[in-house]
Symmetry: C2
Subunit: 421 residues, 2 copies
């Protein structure tokens, strides 16, 4: 870095990003798409340099005793670099939300008001080991006309530096400003704390990674945060549920990919259904390799299985473990979910329309399902093309976030000399 | 208060509000409107009790030497109480946004997805002296199916206690839960700091009052904040501006109500226009009682007027004072606005379409005007019926906020047994 940057890298790059954001906001869809494909080509071309930088990160991580699963996340190879490039090409083919007129109307005094979709400005991205987030975030932000200021982890610094160097070099040959993508290379905690308080320079922070990271950003930031996060999701099997469908969905929602946020953690079963089909449900789960932790009210029938404790109702296992809760009716199920859920995805299996309606009305979560697996809560399954994450907050964006989550609005008012009386 | 409440009033009432929010979310438009008019009637009926409580607040404020302008804000009288009641009746007549289906679509696997508008949950309202905010906030939140947790100022505690007592008593005779409206009576700063961190019980905080109050909430809160605030607004008079229209709008935007956030603080004038019509603009402003602080580049022609300093470009005077900035073209005007503006309302007076387009494209603000006064940025002038405030942030809501700003969305997904492959 040059001496000016070194003096206060954090602010210098934030100001560059802010300046670039004005220019980015005015770029056409064609200009942005061309830049995305140019970056994709550059990634493929410079793959050896990326892998070399990544090897140095991996070597350092090994010296410091990083766990194998963390090293897996940090690791890049030819096919992962190609996947990153392909994702950018895919992004270039998606519809550009910027410039859409969302509403327009006339006022009695002759003013014409249009509500237009515009970029947010500068997005601050805070993330952990995975270097693919660097490319993913840069692509999503550029597609929506935003500048991005990246704060990755220390362990991925060499990889991120090389990736951002390639992005900026590719941008310098396009109509988009290379300063639209900035990497904070000072990865100290002190500088991160200042990063979280750059109001006026960063418009929104998006943390991606562990619950701990997200919690830290929310607690320390004075900038609005787009919160993604935990999924303590439930499947409620109602008295009238068809047994085969309920069991099939239970197995899918628990085991198809247990480590993700839209997998279920507790199966809530109506007691009459349980007395008829519970044995079949439990045996199917066990046969699929799932550990079942049983509600104390039925635990005596399952002496070989662990008993669920209060803590189990709160736990996102992210593993092949599930808690089984027995309830007397849909209202008790709703109370349980609203007490212990994380407002992510909740499903009811039922053939009783009034119960389904009550569930839809009263459960507080981003996405509610009837007779379907919770595993569909994501941008791809919703048909959004690209996904920024799954919002678990209620402001701005909720549930799977597509490109519009990276936009805001601007009112454009045309007059003929109107003044306020 | 009863002993349980006293033990931890803050948490006790937060939990009551949260429980009530589930019930409120399921109420019909008719039930909500009936409750609003019931509260309006109760306010009119109990006006003497309200005025008596208010007198005790006023007496305490006078003893403590509160300024007359603050006492004016705190003061209620018959006509102010009637205005509060009328506002509730008006709210009852507005369209209810809850339950609207914003989008719906089918997926190739047969899932049907609906994006529904739902209440946010519990709104935390933090405000200063004006007791009318108590009624205003309760009305807006109930209309949108939200519970509200009010934290007013110590100086208005008796008034607020009486108002909330009347609201809750009125609600107890309707289908809405009286626990949907809660007043935090412990107005210590320590408890306020805990209030700002009640994640999981309060879904969003809305501060209303001074810049200092808003800043405090943003800095201390871990809950998402709906930020309303400062307006350092500009009027840019382009070379082609019609002189009469430009001067007329300048006077209106500065003087019609100088203390509000959508009044202008700096007039930016293209230098050729200024050399022709500047004298007329300045004389008109002076004749309207406005102090003009002149750009150094033309200050020598106005020896009797103060010279604008760097600080003036940043200042929201909220008074009959205006800074005059001279620029060579629209691009310089845009740069000035983007550097010093607060992203609120900005206007261009011009007959050159390409300049207007550039201004609309490049100025970063919630509301941009062509040939109109900035004074129209509010819910009433926009035709929203009710206004929660004017958002100066970019997430969730921007510009004038109507009832939809107090809502979020929920995805309702109907299936026939779909599982994720």
């Amino acid at each position: 870095m040059n001496p000016i940057i070194e003096e206060d890298e954090l602010l210098y790059k934030a100001e560059q990003a802010k300046r670039a954001s004005s220019s980015l906001a005015a770029k056409s869809t064609e200009q942005k798409n061309h830049a995305l494909t140019a970056i994709a080509s550059a990634l493929r071309k410079h793959c050896p340099a990326i892998l070399q930088a990544n090897e140095s990160d991996i070597a350092a991580a090994q010296r410091e005793g990083m766990s194998q699963s963390m090293i897996d996340r940090l690791m890049l190879n030819q096919s992962r670099v190609n996947a990153m490039a392909d994702a950018l090409d895919n992004l270039a083919r998606l519809n550009d939300p910027i410039g859409d007129c969302l509403e327009e109307w006339d006022r009695p005094n002759g003013l014409h008001i249009r509500k237009m979709r515009v970029p947010i400005g500068v997005i601050g991205m805070v993330y952990e080991a995975r270097p693919n987030v660097t490319i993913d975030a840069a692509g999503l932000c550029l597609k929506t006309g935003n500048a991005v200021y990246l704060r990755g982890s220390r362990s991925a610094l060499e990889s991120n530096r090389t990736l951002v160097g390639i992005i900026r070099q590719a941008l310098s040959k396009t109509d988009l400003p290379e300063d639209g993508v900035q990497l904070l290379e000072d990865v100290s905690h002190e500088t991160a704390d200042r990063f979280f308080r750059l109001n006026g320079l960063i418009d929104v922070l998006i943390p991606r990674g562990s619950q701990k990271l997200i919690r830290t950003v929310i607690n320390k930031s004075t900038i609005p945060v787009l919160e993604t996060g935990a999924g303590n999701c439930h499947l409620y099997i109602d008295e009238s549920a068809r047994p085969e469908m309920a069991i099939n969905i239970a197995i899918n929602a628990k085991t198809q990919r247990p480590s993700v946020c839209n997998a279920i953690e507790t199966i809530i079963v109506q007691k009459k259904w349980f007395s008829r089909y519970g044995e079949s449900l439990i045996q199917s789960l066990i046969a699929s390799g799932v550990e079942c932790r049983m509600d104390p009210s039925v635990a005596s029938n399952y002496p070989d299985l662990p008993v669920a404790e209060e803590e189990d109702w709160k736990t996102e296992y992210l593993d092949k473990t599930v808690a089984i809760k027995i309830v007397s009716d849909v209202d008790e199920a709703i109370r349980h979910i609203n007490r212990f859920g994380t407002k992510h995805s909740e499903s009811i299996i039922s053939e009783t329309p009034s119960h389904v309606e009550r569930f839809f009305q009263s459960v507080d979560a981003s996405t509610l399902y009837h007779n379907a697996s919770t595993r569909f809560t994501d941008g791809e399954a919703f048909g959004f093309g690209a996904e920024i994450g799954i919002s678990t907050q209620k402001l701005h964006a909720r549930g799977p976030m597509g490109l519009p989550a990276l936009t805001t609005i601007k009112y454009i008012v045309k007059g003929t000399g109107q003044i306020r009386e």
